[in-house]
Symmetry: C2
Subunit: 340 residues, 2 copies
């Protein structure tokens, strides 16, 4: 069943049927209803590709992830995309996913733009030497960055959480509790989110006149195993920290394992604050003790990014949107006064 057949069946022109179905005003209410009813009854579905060709709009958004596992390794991405998918579907957009492979990220963008495969893309996990933005500007492919570039916040649209502020507050909570030796288990610091977290952490230390000691810091893949190993390393060092800031729940998972093994009591011997992206399978509140966290839903961010991107596509000449989300600090049982 295609438009032509439907039109013939209704004894109307394709034009009218198309208009009726797409909500154009130049069609009588009676006709519109008749067309709508028949289309539904016969199960007519417009051919997506024909529509795209005719309108020149892809009605699709692209998500491209690099082939090296550094980002994919983190299960965050599924929640992020899930949050967005809702939004797209509601607006009649498809979600295109591309993960790794031989073709590098840049040439995928190029292919997307030049072949008209998508109307826009979401840029994930910006890093320090990120060249994606420049390319996308060049290609005139609308995009929105989840996160921020380092150094500049203008000239592109973004949505980010206040990583720096969150970690600053978290660190301050610990210093206020009397901790003066606080470790940091962070993501790879060539990713701006991780860098910002470190900056917030260092800033809070400076505020209190405390030293920043690289010996009790870690930056790398946020796996359970790294959480375990690094926590062990830190806690077995000569001057072990009494507080730990941890950038992801997976790192925490390993960290807690290490602490248990060392016989250290969380919230007493050592205070823990983790960043919680709200992943459904690893709940900070369900731990014992319940974790103090800086919390921000990655799924909600995914949805909002999607909305902003669609707005941008509708109105390419408008202001470049940007949003900075504050992060909740939720104090639970894993933080307490520094041991004396």
């Amino acid at each position: 069943m295609n438009l032509k057949e439907l039109a013939e069946h209704l004894k109307l022109s394709q034009t009218t049927v198309s208009r009726a179905l797409n909500g154009y005003p130049e069609v009588g209410e009676a006709t519109r209803k008749r067309v709508g009813d028949e289309a539904a009854r016969l199960g007519y579905r417009p051919n997506a590709h024909a529509r795209r060709l005719a309108t020149g709009r892809a009605h699709a958004i692209g998500y491209v992830f690099p082939s090296d596992r550094t980002v994919m390794i983190d299960p965050l991405f599924s929640d992020f995309v899930a949050g967005a998918s809702d939004v797209y579907t509601a607006r009649g957009f498809e979600t295109l996913l591309h993960v790794g492979g031989q073709e590098d990220e840049m040439s995928v963008y190029r292919r997307y733009a030049e072949g008209g495969a998508v109307d826009g893309v979401v840029v994930q996990a910006p890093h320090l030497a990120d060249t994606r933005i420049a390319l996308l500007n060049n290609l005139k492919l609308p995009y929105i960055v989840h996160g921020r570039l380092e150094g500049t916040e203008s000239g592109y649209s973004w949505l980010d959480i206040d990583n720096s502020g969150a970690f600053r507050r978290a660190t301050k909570l610990l210093t206020d509790f009397g901790h003066h030796r606080i470790g940091l288990l962070n993501g790879q610091e060539n990713l701006t989110f991780a860098l910002h977290r470190r900056m917030g952490y260092e800033r809070a230390l400076h505020d209190k006149g405390l030293v920043v000691d690289p010996a009790i810091m870690f930056s790398g893949l946020m796996t359970e195993e790294n959480g375990y190993r690094q926590t062990k390393r830190l806690m077995q060092s000569a001057q072990r920290p009494t507080g730990l800031l941890i950038s992801s729940m997976l790192l925490v998972s390993g960290a807690m394992r290490a602490l248990h093994e060392l016989g250290l009591v969380i919230g007493k011997d050592v205070s823990l604050i983790a960043h919680d992206d709200g992943l459904p399978f690893l709940n900070a509140e369900g731990l014992v003790p319940a974790l103090t966290t800086t919390k921000s839903s990655i799924r909600a961010a995914g949805s909002r990014v999607a909305e902003l991107l669609l707005e941008r596509i509708e109105n390419p000449e408008g202001e470049l949107p940007h949003e900075l989300w504050t992060v909740d600090l939720i104090v639970r049982g894993s933080t307490g006064p520094a041991p004396t």
Copy 2:
């Protein structure tokens, strides 16, 4: 730059240029080279939608996930899709993703099929009352099931791992070690993979003449928290198990936390075997003690499913492919003789 312009520039017809670019034989080698070179030089990219419209093939595969979180909750899916994406891109296919939202899974399939949006779909996580297969058969939309339906293995194409065999062997390992009270922490048993695992487990118990005790079994969401809670429940019950079979690494993560808390030594007081999908962020070998696992890479399965689906699309009349993968049992330090 479109085909017409490229053709004019080359002083050739669109026909010839199209054929040269797509590798048809009716074009001279010299011409083909000239066309290819110019196309590359000018950065010509065929418009994907026009091609789809002309060929009637979408060159896209759909992945649709239900809106309830039961599947999405598990980060497996990202690795599964990542494995597939490689394959698709190499063959010029896009990956379409749809997650939840108002529209239910079934109507997404319908839309995909009737609107020609995709050439095929991958069906994930089949469950007992699964109606997707019937619908897809009806819609004549090629598909492949990752997993199996309950009761029948013919009439549809599938790729599955031998869940039943894996858990049977794992259970046998424990019974051979002298365990006769073995707990099971499983996924939701309306999902066939989980059901099969339980069947393998029960079968092995029967083989040894051991009773199947529902009191030391759990079926539900595979979250860290459930792993923790259920392990606590089991180990605090009157007749606590000396062995534990666990369906996912996330459950294990919680289980180990509970065991540490209870002061039970893994591999001695209690033996652990987990199913490991090869997720990069939670490594069974890195745990202490290293975990005995039934291991099967979900990423590899994702790739292979993709290949099979593409074959099926190329040759819709061919045999329905199916593959059953055996699962490795890797014995490490978390299993040992039953305590006396």
